[in-house]
Structures are given as C-alpha cells and as structure tokens.
C-alpha cells in the first residue's frame, strides 16, 4: 500500500512537472483525444502513414546495421555475412532491412496513384504533391543505393547492367562500374560515397521533405472524401 502510494505520487509529481512546463494535457486533448475528423475516410488513406512506418522500420534496422557494416570493397560482403551469422538475431534485422523497401516503395506508389486518380493534389494541396513526389524519387534512390552496399550478386547486377550501359544514376555508378569491372583496383571511396548517400544524404533530405509534407497536411487538413 505504501509502495503504491509512493509510485503514484512519483508519477503524479512527474506529470505535474511536465504539465507545468509544457501544458501537454491541452496539446494531447486538442490533437488526439478530443480531435474530430470527417466521417467516411478510406482505409486506403492510411498508405501514406504506413509508408512512414516502413521508413521508421528501415531507420531502426539501419541504425543497428551501421554499427557493423564496413563500407569497403574488401570488407562489405564479409561484414554483412558477419551480421547475418555471428550476431544474435542479426539475420532477422538484416533481412527485414532488405525486404522492407519492397513494401515502402509499394506503399508510396499506391499512395501517389490514389492521390493522382482522386485529384487530391488540387488547390490548396499542390505542394503536398510536390513534396510527395520528391519523396517517391528519394525512396527509389535510397533503395537503389541500398542494393549496392552488400556487394552481393544483386549489387553487381545493378552496376553491371545499368551502370555499364548508361551510368544510372549518373556519376555515382560510373565510379562503381570502374570499381567492379577493373577487378584489381576496387575503389573504397565508391563504397564510402554510396554509403554516405544511403545513410546520411538521402535520409536527411527525406526527413526534411517528410516534415514539410506532414506540416502542410496539418495546415490544410486532409482532403474531403469524394
């Protein structure tokens, strides 16, 4: 009884401490518990939110992989093998990170197609579409750079097919084609470059566009059901 009382008073103290400073109760009531939304929203309207969940899943598993992956031509493949075979549940985390892009791209695509067919990009939501389509392009780019990094068969496919023929996407792959095809002089710099794009450059841009996207949705509200 005494312990329960102490615990309650501790949580009560914490609650009051935060409430006094940030007025969380009012914010939660306004944005969650007492918020009203239009009736009849489609379940398909959740695809954008689900794509964000997939992004979070990728970020979470990616942070784990960052600690073990070595962006070097000689070590990349072995470091992924180490994660898969030597670290407890490493295989699970690595495989989740490898398969989630399929879902993420599918969700972003279905979200865009739905918006395109329903004409939800009309005034005042033009910039929602612009940020969303840029997010689709960035999602494809991050998935492409991701296939390159493990230095497995799929990575070779990417650079040998697209890279040797036209240099997709531009000069990044030109370096990697040289890296793979020269045989003797595999460039570590290529791995570092693509790794930096994959874990920092593209995710930072995605976070920026996502923030703008969500902020604009909050400002204009979701579209009326047709």
């Amino acid at each position: 009884m005494n312990k329960t009382f102490k615990r309650e008073s501790f949580f009560g103290f914490l609650k009051n401490w935060f409430e006094e400073r940030y007025q969380l109760k009012e914010a939660i009531e306004r944005n969650v518990t007492k918020k009203q939304i239009p009736k009849g929203l489609s379940w398909f309207g959740c695809t954008g939110g689900l794509a964000f969940v997939a992004f979070l899943l990728q970020a979470g598993t990616g942070i784990f992989l960052v600690f073990h992956y070595i962006p070097s031509a000689n070590e990349a493949f072995n470091s992924v093998q180490y994660v898969r075979h030597a670290i407890p549940y490493g295989w699970l985390i690595q495989k989740v990170h490898a398969v989630t892009p399929h879902f993420m791209v599918a969700l972003v695509l279905s979200h865009m197609v739905r918006i395109l067919f329903k004409g939800i990009y009309k005034k005042p939501r033009e910039l929602h579409w612009v940020s969303g389509s840029l997010l689709l392009i960035l999602t494809l780019m991050i998935s492409y750079t991701g296939t390159f990094l493990p230095a497995n068969g799929l990575s070779y496919w990417g650079v040998s097919t697209a890279g040797s023929e036209v240099g997709m996407p531009t000069m990044v792959t030109d370096h990697s084609v040289g890296a793979y095809q020269d045989g003797r002089a595999i460039s570590n710099q290529t791995f570092v470059l693509i790794y930096a794009l994959h874990i920092a450059g593209i995710p930072i841009m995605m976070s920026l566009f996502m923030s703008l996207h969500f902020l604009m949705i909050r400002r204009t509200g979701i579209s009326e059901p047709l």
Binding site: V32, Q36, K39, L57, E126, I137, Y156, T161, E165, V166
Partner: protein
Amino acid sequence: MVDYRKGRSEEDLEPFFPNEILRHTLLTFFLMSAVLIAVIVLPESFQKSTGEFAAFQTKPPWYLLSFYQLSFLLKSKVLYITALVVFALLFVSIPFLDRNPKRCLCEKPVFFSLVILCLLMVIFLGLMRFLK
C-alpha cells in the same frame, strides 16, 4: 492548424481517437506481419559479386526493372538521363499542369489516357526486363 468542426454537423464527424488511431494501428500490425512473412518467404541470393556468375543469376528489385530496361533501350547516356529528368519534372509538376477544375481523374479523358499510358509503359518496360 485546421479545425474539421467548422462548417460540419456532429453527424459528419468522428473522433480521431480511437477510430483513426485504431485504423492506423491495425494496418501497422498487418504491415509488420507482411514484412515478417516476406523475411521467411522471399528468397535471397546472397553470394559475393563476381563477373562470372552473379550477373545472370539475380534480378534487380521489381521497382527498378523499368529503369534498367529504359537504360537498355536508350543507349545514349545523355538521352537516358534527360528522359529520366524530364519524366521526373513532369511528374512533380502535375498539379501545375492539370488546369482542369474537375477533381476526379475519370472525368478528364485526355489526362486519364495519358496517366494510363504512362502506367502501362512503366509496367511493360518492367515486364520486358523481368522476362529477359
């Protein structure tokens, strides 16, 4: 921030919590389940890349197939990158190009045909690469 109560009666509204939160939570669980099933079911070619065998044993992910096929068809590097940039720019600027006041795509026959044509082209390019 927008207030959905403005101009609407109580019958036209529903609570965000728990209705919308529940919808998102349920679908999130479906997504997690699908990912875990894919982890078990999807095959993975995890062999070290060498020119001898890797190139013909693996295929790129489905969402990149059409890009690879286009790169195969357009031999010129400049032409390919220009085509991608032009396509991306057109895609990004759709709201500014579509001046028709009607919202639903099915009410705009020309635009509808263009969109369907583009979608079919992407699917066709992807299939061509997949079946190669």
